[in-house]
């Protein structure tokens, strides 16, 4: 059958047609994961949503606040921080980033793609590593750009009441870069949860529980206990780096909180890595 234009293995030294026989390297797995990420519609929509909400939510809130400035209470006006407003879009973006983080890995389990991935890279760890790396770089780049855009537009809007900050002001640059860092590590935590649970619904449920339900549970505790526990909750620890001024005293220092958040993420990713290598696919 002439359609079978495959060289025989014996003739694979033949430079004419035989493909070069190269092995798996981490760089190649990264390229493959890049192709996988950008070739899915769900990725494009999730990231577009994250970018849009990061910018539009902050700008929208600033516009409403400025329009109603004279109706705001004296306390609100005195404590107004336009840097916090500029990064407030993360409240919505974190959902899009988290869901996508879970999906990039559970989508492979639900469709069976994971078997192809692991057959191509049987040492397995590079698949998770490259996936996390590509997702982190894309998320960080997009969120950083969105945060800067939101910052500058919000500052332009609040100038009418002389509330503007520049990037050189205390906490401003840290909060803007911090919000991108927070969302990136949040995405990695979601990747870890997805890899650990291997199921989209379970992954998203765990993600939502950890970040949004857990704080509600502590609210039931006596105030003194809640105040001492709540700074260490993942979301509260992680958002410290994306906050300029705090409304109350119960929080960790920005980088300490972010460090703790990275620690939680590392534990989840580590457990996911062990599970990936040890368990049957």
């Amino acid at each position: 059958m002439s359609a079978v234009a495959l060289p025989s293995p014996a003739a694979s030294g033949d430079a004419r047609q035989a493909p070069e026989r190269q092995g798996v390297t981490f760089g190649r797995v990264v390229r493959s994961e890049w192709t996988k990420l950008v070739s899915l519609r769900s990725t494009r929509w999730s990231l577009l949503a994250a970018v849009a909400m990061m910018i539009l939510l902050a700008v929208g809130i600033a516009a409403v606040q400025m329009g109603r400035w004279n109706q705001l209470s004296l306390h609100d006006r005195l404590t107004y921080d336009s840097i916090n407003t500029a990064v407030s879009g993360f409240n919505f973006s974190q959902l899009a980033v988290g869901v996508l983080g879970v999906l990039v890995i559970t989508g492979e389990y639900s469709t069976g793609m994971i078997r192809s991935s692991l057959m191509a890279v049987p040492t397995r760890l590079p698949v998770l590593g490259a996936k996390a790396l590509v997702f982190a770089v894309v998320t960080f780049a997009l969120m950083l750009v969105s945060a800067f855009i939101a910052f500058f537009v919000v500052q332009a809007l609040v100038t009418q009441h002389h509330l503007q900050h520049s990037l050189g002001d205390p906490h401003a640059l840290r909060a803007v870069v911090g919000v991108a860092l927070f969302l990136t590590v949040l995405g990695l935590m979601a990747v870890g949860l997805g890899a650990l649970l291997r199921n989209t619904a379970a992954g998203i449920a765990a993600f939502v529980f950890m970040l949004f339900v857990l704080p509600g549970v502590t609210a039931i505790l006596p105030a003194s206990v809640a105040d001492s526990v709540s700074p260490y909750l993942p979301l509260n620890a992680g958002t410290a780096v994306a906050t300029s001024t705090f409304e109350d005293g119960h929080h960790l220092a920005p980088w300490a909180g972010f460090g703790l958040f990275c620690g939680y993420t590392a534990i989840i990713l580590g457990a996911a890595a062990i599970g990936l290598v040890r368990r049957d696919a």
Binding site: M1, A3, V4, A5, L6, P7, S8, P9, A10, S12, A18, P19, E20, R21, Q22, G23, V24, T25, R28, V29, R31, S32, E33, T35, K36, S39, L40, R41, S42, G107, E108, T111, G112, M113, I114, R115, S116, L118, M119, A120, V121, P122, T123, D280, A281
Partner: protein, 313 residues
């Protein structure tokens, strides 16, 4: 070459593969046969490093799959369960697979053409028919031009033309010196494609033989159908030959254990008129059923229970 060395796989209490040992040689198509649930897919997953054996060792070209540095160049596989993201196009799926090994786009185009998916390569794989999905899986398996090819039920969902195509393709690949190992639950399909066949049932090895041998066994176990107006006389005449004679109708005999030639000669000698003398070959499926008969996992049960319910109602 694939070597299975005393491999056992347990899932909790259930033993899916039970101390299995055999070798799959290069240069021929080897069939892997067994009823559904016999452990075929489990063993294939162990060959491909997806599942780890509970005990024993599986090697491909002398190495365990997980130790291969360029697995797609060594082994190409099509699994029974789909292993393709439904949201990605066929082309992008193959490209992502190729990139892990630094295989270029030219080779991706080549395998797309080879399996005849050119026209739909940019469409989402989720919309593919079963047959198109199989072709994409085969393209994926051939991407790295591997020396060993493992296919789980490759004919599934293919139309007759597709089945003929895959049969020819697999024979050509084997003729090039590659190891071709494919599973099926259909003996007839296997007889057309494979040269050797490994039969398992309930995770155990039942036979490891050539297809020709099974075919010979199948015909040896056959009977001869005879139609004659003088059936009682023929029965008497054949009484001395050590056969077993069954009769469904007055003028019809089904004779086991006596060759057709001897029956004909005896009839001629006795002057018995024969209207028909036909050797009945046992089909390959029957030979397969005879081999695996006791090991079928999910045997159909009778409907007695239902019948009783109906009576009660």
């Amino acid at each position: 070459m694939i070597e299975i060395d005393h491999v056992t796989k347990r899932y909790g209490e259930k033993v899916a593969v039970d101390d299995l040992s055999f070798t799959v040689q290069p240069g021929i198509v080897t069939g892997f046969l067994g009823p559904n649930g016999a452990g075929k897919s489990t063993l294939m997953r162990m060959i491909l490093g997806l599942d780890a054996p509970t005990s024993g060792r599986v090697t491909v070209n002398g190495q365990s799959y997980r130790a291969l540095r360029a697995p797609l160049h060594e082994v190409g596989a099509l699994l029974e369960a789909r292993a393709i993201h439904t949201g990605r196009s066929a082309y992008n799926h193959l490209l992502a697979m190729a990139q892990t090994h630094g295989i270029g786009r030219a080779r991706v185009d080549e395998v797309v053409d080879l399996v005849g998916l050119r026209a739909v390569a940019r469409r989402r794989a989720g919309g593919f028919s079963l047959g198109m999905g199989q072709r994409l899986g085969i393209a994926s398996a051939l991407l790295g031009d591997p020396r060993v090819i493992i296919l789980d039920e490759p004919a599934n969902g293919l139309d007759p033309e597709g089945i003929l195509w895959i049969r020819t393709l697999l024979k050509d690949l084997a003729a090039q010196g590659r190891t071709v190992f494919l599973s099926s639950h259909l003996m007839s399909e296997m007889a057309m494609t494979a040269e050797r066949v490994v039969v398992i049932g309930r995770g155990r090895l039942i036979a490891n033989t050539s297809v020709a041998e099974i075919v010979a066994q199948a015909s040896a176990g056959g009977s001869v159908r005879v139609r004659t107006p003088q059936a009682p006389r023929l029965r008497e005449a054949l009484a001395s030959a050590n056969g077993r004679i069954v009769s469904d109708a007055d003028d019809e005999l089904e004779i086991h254990g006596i060759p057709a030639a001897l029956i004909g000669e005896t009839a001629a000698l006795e002057g018995i008129v024969l209207h028909e003398l036909t050797p009945q070959k046992a089909s390959l499926e029957e030979a397969f059923m005879a081999l695996t008969g006791e090991s079928v996992e999910y045997q159909a049960t009778t409907l007695d229970a239902n019948a009783e319910l109906e009576v009660a109602a």
